[in-house]
């Protein structure tokens, strides 16, 4: 009986420990905002690495996201002749839902996983302890700048991605449905309200925070050698995916 309880309880306690650790990271990071206390150099470095280097992958993802949504809408357009629907799909669905979601997942896979792997490697090779011995707070030096870089860069990347997604939608609409670009853009501007764009971008910033917190947590709490690094990366991408969907749900429920 007690063995059963322990077996059922183990995932609960470990989930609670993870949740507690992540909350602590988020709280300590927030405290760095006032008084403003962020390592400038590290921030710039992280922004370049996370943002600029992810540009191609985000562009490709956004292109597909826009294209796929228009294609799905096209089925109904062909059926019911509702051409305005295309603009709704490309505009509303992509900008508000699928764009931030897919770009967030990609960012998690690339930047979040990378960050977790790097922090995990630094932890198991004692590089984090080396920082402490050099009297440098690893949290201030490693976690805070990267966390804020992720928030800012995912926001910017999603903004760029939105443009690419509309372009992808336009191209697919032209190729598959034969809708002229002009008509497409008219439809988009008629169907999209500023709120869709804003909510999509707000979401992406929150996703950035989630990815930063999750990847830092799993990176810094790594146990046991090279295998541990693999586990940390895996736990990080899985945790991120769950958190992204949960956050998305709550923002959607609050926003509508």
């Amino acid at each position: 009986m007690s063995a059963l309880v322990r077996r059922l309880g183990a995932p609960v306690t470990s989930a609670a420990r993870d949740a507690g650790g992540m909350t602590l990271i988020a709280w300590r990071a927030l405290r760095a905002l006032y008084p403003l206390n962020i390592e400038r150099e590290e921030l710039v470095r992280a922004m370049y690495k996370f943002g600029y280097m992810s540009l191609p992958i985000v562009a490709v993802t956004a292109f597909f996201a826009g294209g796929i949504m228009v294609l799905q809408a096209a089925m109904y357009v062909a059926q019911y002749g509702a051409y305005t629907f295309v603009g709704w799909a490309a505009g509303f669905v992509t900008l508000r839902e699928m764009g931030p979601l897919l770009i967030g997942l990609m960012f998690s896979g690339r930047v979040g996983a990378n960050n977790a792997a790097e922090l995990a490697t630094m932890t198991i090779t004692e590089q984090v302890d080396a920082l402490r011995v050099l009297a440098i707070d690893p949290f201030r030096y490693l976690v805070v700048p990267r966390l804020f870089a992720m928030i800012v860069m995912l926001f910017c990347l999603t903004a760029i991605g939105d443009l690419v997604a509309i372009g992808g939608g336009a191209l697919i609409a032209r190729l598959v449905l034969g809708i002229e670009f002009r008509l497409f853009f008219d439809s988009v501007s008629a169907m999209v309200v500023m709120g869709d764009l804003t909510i999509g971008l707000v979401k992406s910033a929150v996703f950035g925070l989630a990815i930063g917190v999750v990847s830092s947590h799993f990176g810094l709490t790594v146990k046991g050698g090279a295998r541990g690094v693999g586990h940390a990366v895996n736990a990080c991408v899985v945790g991120n995916a769950i958190l992204i969907f949960v956050v998305d749900y709550f923002i959607t429920a609050l926003g509508t």
């Binding site: 600029y52 280097m53 540009l55 191609p56 992958i57 490709v60 993802t61 597909f64 996201a65 294209g67 796929i68 294609l71 799905q72 096209a74 089925m75 062909a78 709704w88 509303f92 669905v93 508000r96 839902e97 897919l102 997942l105 990609m106 896979g109 690339r110 996983a113 990378n114 792997a117 995990a120 490697t121 198991i124 697919i172 598959v176 050698g225 090279a226 295998r227 690094v229 693999g230 990366v233 895996n234 991408v237 899985v238 995916a241 769950i242 969907f245 949960v246 998305d248 749900y249 959607t252 429920a253 509508t256």
Partner: protein
């Protein structure tokens, strides 16, 4: 600007190299599958592992996507049409055509693909794969073929379960938040044979692609624990990109097919 061009160029070359490597691995796998040079028990074992590992994760994520989509759809329908009778069937259609296979595929790429890359990657850097070859065992027969078959089985079964679960969660959400009666929501009237075919087609292709790309990422891993880490990371990204690419391709194919049939 020059730097950006360079970055894009480097990424293009990298993508092309990946493509060449993947192509050769693809043909070797097909040959291995056709000649049936793999152990059937291993396929079952892998499928069991893959599916069990991802079931809970998949249900959680799919459930949330279902809630989000129904929320949005009901809200928009309320605003634009004032009528929510079509929400259920249209949602099911979208789930089957798009969300179940694609979101499901992305999640399985995250859970299973990363695992395959880490496993084969660490076998690679610890020279276990060389040891296999020294013993006359072909790594493709031994490691890749069974995982790919298991991937197809997993993707098909989890895709179906995921779609059902999403539909169920959607129905409950519509009832709870917008009081759409269950009898109106759970209606399969809009589903056509082509929708089901595109669903199955996507599942099979993703199930094949995820282990293939992940195994390839593992085979090209270099240099210790960091190599394993980067192989794992890369496999998630590459699998996701291939899934999105095939999603668009297969979607376009079925759209044209549907239009040709009428």
């Amino acid at each position: 600007m020059i730097a950006l061009t360079q970055l894009l160029g480097a990424q293009t070359i990298w993508l092309f190299e990946q493509f060449l490597g993947l192509r050769s691995l693809f043909w070797r796998t097909v040959a291995s599958l056709l000649r049936r040079r793999f152990r059937r028990s291993e396929v079952i074992e892998h499928a069991y592992n893959f599916a069990n590992k991802s079931l809970l994760f998949l249900f959680v994520t799919m459930g949330f996507v279902g809630m989000i989509m129904v929320f949005q759809a009901c809200f928009q329908a309320q605003r634009l049409l004032g009528d929510m009778t079509l929400i259920g069937p249209a949602f099911l259609q979208l789930v089957i055509r798009e969300f179940a296979p694609t979101i499901g595929g992305l999640m399985i790429a995250t859970r299973v693909g990363a695992g395959i890359a880490a496993e084969i990657g660490s076998m690679n850097v610890t020279e276990q794969i060389d040891a296999l070859r020294m013993n006359g065992a072909d790594p493709v027969d031994h490691l890749v073929a069974p995982r790919i078959l298991a991937g197809v089985v997993t993707m098909l079964s989890l895709g179906i379960f995921g779609a059902l679960f999403m539909f169920l969660v959607g129905g409950v959400t519509a009832k709870a938040a917008f009081s759409v009666p269950y009898s109106t929501f759970f209606n399969m009237g809009l589903i056509k044979p082509l929708d089901v075919m595109s669903f199955l087609n996507k599942c099979v292709v993703y199930g094949f692609v995820i282990p293939l790309v992940a195994a390839h990422a593992g085979f090209v891993a270099r240099g210790g624990s960091e190599g394993v880490g980067s192989a794992t990371t890369r496999s998630v990204i590459e699998c996701s990109l291939w899934i999105l690419m095939f999603d668009l391709g297969i979607g376009a194919f079925y759209f044209i097919l549907q239009r040709a049939i009428g």
